[in-house]
């Protein structure tokens, strides 16, 4: 009878991935499974290992297979390398190799809903909308966090008027900054405002995973995630790493922006992320001098689009100087003029959104059962 312990004992003195520390001490063996006289051994290695040290990896594989066969009863041994570190073993503050959350479980502990605010096209006012929406959700009495996932062009530090560097707690987690009733975390707190982020896909993934998991978010009702524009690495990472409650799509009413909004919607639907609704930004312009209204980007396009695509329409926000000025000044209008007409518009969008979220409460979601016989 082969036992995991007898296999583990046979492997104990084999040098691990670094060529020195024995596997028995390095904790590199993450899984052993036995089927009849065959054993399968999973060993955790650095994600870069296969690329940087292919020869060493092959040697490690052979050594482990040979050692495993010395255990009584083992006829064959198969070694699998995995680049994932089990979260329990990972030192706090270290990036996880690959953030595979458990959609049924608690992906980011204490966070009830994660909502992505996205747009197909840049420049439609997505970040401004996300910031005001977050403030308005907080005004409804919800505990709100804002994760700035637009790592190429982080806007949340400026929109929330935050410039300090976040502190680190005893567990090595970053402590989010707070203003206007929201906890905020952004890569922009960690780098200079003028430094360009020139990053490839895997770095985007690991940065986002850290912002999600290595930050002391505490208990939140809603985490609003400001996505970068488009349908790329950041969107895919978010869709794969955490079970998003849904996505809010921001678009201007012009056809050119709506075209991309449609792509954004299709992308989220492809990965089973519900569309919580569409917001029409820069919906119309009222001249402060003569009071005449101009539909600069046409008007109502997003509402029609929402009807066509069968997704909820959350509201329209006008093109308004005061919104732009307060945003650039780090004083979101929903927070600094809470009784004004624009705060009321965002409050409506926030209420519509929280209604949609209530529909996606975990209990209402389809549950997947995974059974291994």
């Amino acid at each position: 009878m082969i036992t995991k312990d007898s296999v583990l004992a046979a492997l104990a003195s084999v040098p691990g991935p670094d060529g020195r520390t024995p596997l028995g001490q390095s904790g590199g063996v993450t899984n052993i499974s036995v089927q009849d006289s065959r054993v399968f051994i999973a060993i955790t290695v650095d994600p870069a290992f296969p690329r940087t040290q292919p020869v060493e990896m092959d040697m490690l594989r052979k050594r482990v297979e040979a050692a495993a066969k010395t255990a009584p009863g083992v006829l064959s041994a198969i070694v699998t390398f995995t680049a994932e570190r089990p979260t329990t073993n990972a030192p706090a503050g270290r990036p996880k190799a690959r953030g595979q959350g458990d959609p049924q479980g608690d992906p980011v502990p204490g966070v009830k809903h994660i909502v992505a605010v996205a747009s197909g096209k840049g420049g439609v006012g997505k970040s401004t909308t996300a910031a005001n929406l977050a403030v308005s959700l907080a005004a409804l009495g919800l505990r709100v966090g804002v994760l700035d996932a637009d790592i190429y062009g982080p806007s949340m530090p400026r929109l929330f008027g935050l410039t300090a560097k976040p502190d680190v707690n005893d567990e090595g987690q970053l402590i989010p900054l707070e203003n206007h009733g929201c906890k905020v975390m952004s890569i922009g707190f960690l780098v200079d405002e003028n430094t360009p982020m020139v990053w490839r896909g895997p770095m985007v993934m690991s940065a986002l995973t850290q912002l999600l998991r290595d930050v002391a978010w505490g208990d939140l009702d809603v985490m609003v995630v400001d996505m970068p524009p488009g349908t790329g690495d950041a969107q895919l990472t978010m869709a794969q790493t955490v079970p998003l409650s849904g996505a809010v799509i921001v678009s201007t009413p012009q056809d050119l922006a709506l075209l991309d909004a449609r792509r954004g919607i299709a992308m989220f639907e492809r990965v089973n992320v519900p569309i919580l609704g569409l917001v029409e930004n820069m919906s119309y312009f009222v001249c402060p001098h003569c009071g005449e209204r101009s539909d600069i980007f046409a008007h109502g396009g997003a509402k029609r689009e929402a009807e066509t695509m069968n997704v909820p329409f959350l509201g329209e926000v006008p093109l308004e100087m005061a919104i732009r000025e307060t945003s650039d000044g780090g004083q979101p209008i929903a927070s600094t003029a809470p009784n004004g007409p624009f705060a009321a518009i965002y409050a409506n969008v926030a209420r519509e959104l929280s209604d949609q979220l209530a529909l996606t409460e975990p209990a209402a979601r389809p549950q997947l059962k995974i059974v291994v016989e």
Binding site: S33, F40, Q100, T241, R270, V271, L359, I370, V371
Partner: protein
């Protein structure tokens, strides 16, 4: 609110010592997928390449078994096979299309093996 992708399965069951995956959907549809078929038709770029012309024919997987099933977001699972292959992300509609075309896919695979002088 209604996603166009296939709905989330109600259950994914691994049977027969990892050699058979049974995927059931809320509408009652259920598909039995052998680990061998899932392995040789893995949606991973390691198998499918980046275009149909790059597709690789994977021989010798008659006895391959699935070791691990991990959820990916809301739309897929990652399957780890006992030969070390773990880069395939199986979306719900992948299961549906594999399940409904199982015989055809497998026949095509056997043809491709034969044409290359390979075996299961």
């Amino acid at each position: 609110m209604i996603p166009k992708a296939a709905p989330t399965p109600s259950e994914i069951r691994l049977k027969d010592k990892g050699r058979l995956l049974v995927v059931s959907f809320p509408d009652g549809a259920s598909y039995e997928l052998p680990a061998e078929l899932l392995r040789v038709e893995s949606p991973s770029a390691e198998v499918q390449g980046h275009s149909p012309s790059e597709k690789r024919i994977v021989p010798g997987k008659k006895d391959v078994a699935i070791l691990r099933i991990e959820p990916v977001g809301r739309y897929a699972v990652r399957l780890t096979f006992d030969d070390g292959h773990d880069s395939g992300i199986y979306a719900w509609d992948t299961f549906v299309s594999m399940g409904t075309n199982r015989e055809g896919l497998f026949a095509a695979y056997l043809e491709a093996l034969k044409a290359r002088g390979l075996s299961r």
